[in-house]
């Protein structure tokens, strides 16, 4: 059945909720493995489901791209839960422990279910509601740790998020007014190139831009990434961004496809602004989480390049880069979460001498950072190369230059951290970190994946053929 992954996720959510009532504090450590099992089950179900088909009268449709998006969400969820295991278990240090793990996991799973649905919606109402389900729980997760910063982060996130969804809703209203239908696939035929369509498009882009942290709408990201607990920040930077991209692709490819080609230059400008601002401000960051926020903003800038030319190659490049970005980003976050968990600090300078204390950890972090910077043996290089190739194909050679120089600037600030780890001597009295079993397994998996995705071509080829099929289905 097409909707199996979503159902499994929701079922796990409920199971955890109910079980939580009966378990003692010590027994609560069972919840995380259970959640992981649930997600793994959903993954298995996803692999089993075919990547085409329609359900519930067109409300829920499955296509190759949606399949890949769901895979990214589930992988990201699995890894994030694995990374948060340390903080959720009972033995976690009191001051940084995430209390009430049951509820935390349930909300996370519901949020995941919202994202999964998001990838397969084909009408405005389900899209809006799924998007809200994919966003509102994040306000809660951001504010989970009721310390001074958490509340503020949650509130700010909530205010900006609500405003963005209001704008989005207003845009959807205009869209509905113009076409009279809620079916996304029916809209392109009914839309004409007049200023009202443009207004609706702009509002929707603004609403989704908030979630994807595109430049004018990115202001919230640094502070919420800093305020939220590190695992939630990881989840935000990977899953929420992927959901944002899924929605943007849904909107631009399904609804505004006829105008996508002409609006290429506007997308190019947006991408340049996002990349450049993200990279420039990341240089001066001292807090590792704010640093990762700006790095994520610049990655969003690169992702936008896939829309130029509006072809299936662009879509494939974006989906592939998203998968690579997710894996690489989580490998870096694994080390950040561990470091924060055991030393409580989020300053970049506190990473000095890590290569002497835990050589393997430092190596994994370095590989992750180089993956984000797009350095060859790692898959980040192939991902970025594909996006730049799409931009060149669409004729924006100047943009390829800008993007390449931007990734050089990004190399500068990634190297700043490598410098702290490898060149600076460890602070006196610094004690090596002791990674938990779950976290080191996740770290190993992500690093290996980020290496393999770049070398083994099968993943990219699959995404590429899927995108080609998807574009035809879009065509009818």
């Amino acid at each position: 059945m097409l909707m199996l992954p979503e159902l499994i996720v929701v079922a796990t959510g409920f199971l955890l909720l109910v079980l939580d009532l009966f378990l003692t504090d010590k027994q609560r450590d069972l919840l995380v493995p259970l959640a992981l099992a649930g997600i793994a089950g959903a993954l298995a179900a996803l692999v089993a489901t075919p990547d085409h088909g329609v359900l519930l009268g067109g409300r829920f449709a499955m296509d190759p791209l949606a399949w890949w998006f769901k895979l990214t969400f589930l992988v990201a969820a699995f890894l994030t839960v694995a990374l948060t295991a340390g903080l959720l278990e009972n033995a976690a240090p009191e001051v940084r422990k995430l209390h009430s793990p049951g509820e935390f996991l349930t909300i996370l799973l519901f949020n995941l279910c919202g994202m999964l649905l998001l990838a397969s919606t084909r009408d405005l109402i389900t899209l809006y509601v799924a998007l809200e389900l994919a966003t509102i729980p994040l306000f809660l997760l951001a504010a989970w740790r009721r310390d001074a910063l958490g509340g503020e982060a949650g509130l700010k996130y909530m205010v900006i998020g609500a405003l963005a969804s209001a704008l989005l809703l207003y845009g959807f209203g205009v869209l509905y007014g113009l076409t009279g239908t809620m079916q996304l696939d029916a809209m392109p035929a009914l839309l004409h190139a007049d200023r009202v369509t443009l207004f609706a498009g702009a509002l929707v882009v603004a609403g989704v831009g908030f979630k994807l942290t595109l430049v004018p709408f990115h202001m919230w990201a640094p502070e919420i990434y800093q305020g939220a607990p590190p695992p939630v920040t990881a989840w935000l930077s990977v899953a929420s961004k992927s959901a944002g991209l899924a929605v943007l692709m849904l909107v631009l490819f399904h609804v505004f496809r006829p105008f996508l080609h002409d609006a290429g230059f506007a997308i190019a400008l947006l991408a340049t602004a996002t990349m450049t601002l993200g990279n420039l401000v990341a240089i001066v960051q001292r807090n590792i989480l704010r640093f990762m926020a700006f790095s994520a903003i610049s990655q969003a800038g690169y992702l936008l390049l896939g829309f130029l030319g509006g072809g299936s190659v662009g879509a494939a490049a974006m989906v592939f880069y998203l998968l690579v970005y997710a894996v690489t980003n989580l490998s870096v976050f694994a080390v950040i979460i561990l470091h924060n968990q055991q030393t409580g600090s989020t300053q970049i300078t506190d990473y000095r001498g890590l290569s002497r204390l835990n050589p393997l950890l430092a190596l994994a972090m370095m590989l992750g950072l180089f993956g984000l910077a797009g350095i060859p043996p790692l898959s980040g290089f192939v991902g970025k190369f594909l996006l730049f190739s799409v931009t060149a194909q669409a004729g924006y050679h100047w943009l390829v230059g800008v993007a390449a120089v931007n990734s050089t600037i990004s190399l500068y600030y990634y190297l700043r951290i490598v410098r702290q780890m490898y060149i600076e001597a460890p602070a006196d009295g610094a004690v090596p970190l002791k990674p938990g079993a779950m976290l080191s397994a996740a770290l190993l998996a992500t690093t290996a994946a980020s290496m393999l995705l770049g070398v083994v071509p099968t993943v990219y080829e699959a995404v590429r053929t899927g995108a080609a099929v998807w574009l035809q289905t879009l065509g009818q």
Binding site: L149, G151, L155, K156, V174, Y176, T179, G180
Partner: protein
């Protein structure tokens, strides 16, 4: 007097101007109110304006729209908007209360601890 009234029976544009006015006032509220709850109230204004919009477009449906008598999309959408608004307020208030317990202030402008 009657002809005058008949003359300017409200067309779709009039309605839309009303809703966009309401939306803009809500927007103004969100951007200027210092009390967090005030901001949420202005948010409710915006969402309400958007909800009315949907019902409006449902009544003045685009001529090209297909589907038989049960074209209830707009109405159903409004119901869901109200539900989402409710969820947002719940979350907003929960966070607001938790934050108030920690920071003892409701003033949004004083919540700037999180800058570099």
């Amino acid at each position: 007097m009657a002809e005058f009234l008949a003359g300017c029976t409200p067309t779709l544009t009039h309605w839309l101007i009303l809703t966009s006015a309401l939306f803009s006032i809500g927007l103004y509220g969100m951007l200027t109110r210092r009390n967090a709850v005030g901001v949420l109230m202005s948010l409710e204004l915006c969402l309400n304006a958007a909800a009315v919009n949907f019902v409006l477009f449902n009544r003045y449906l685009a001529p090209t729209a297909q589907g038989g008598a049960e074209r209830l999309d707009g109405a159903v959408m409004t119901i869901f908007v109200i539900a989402v608004a409710a969820a947002e307020v719940v979350v907003g208030m929960a966070i607001f209360v938790a934050m108030y317990a920690e920071r003892r202030t409701v003033d949004v402008t004083r919540l700037d601890a999180l800058k570099d």
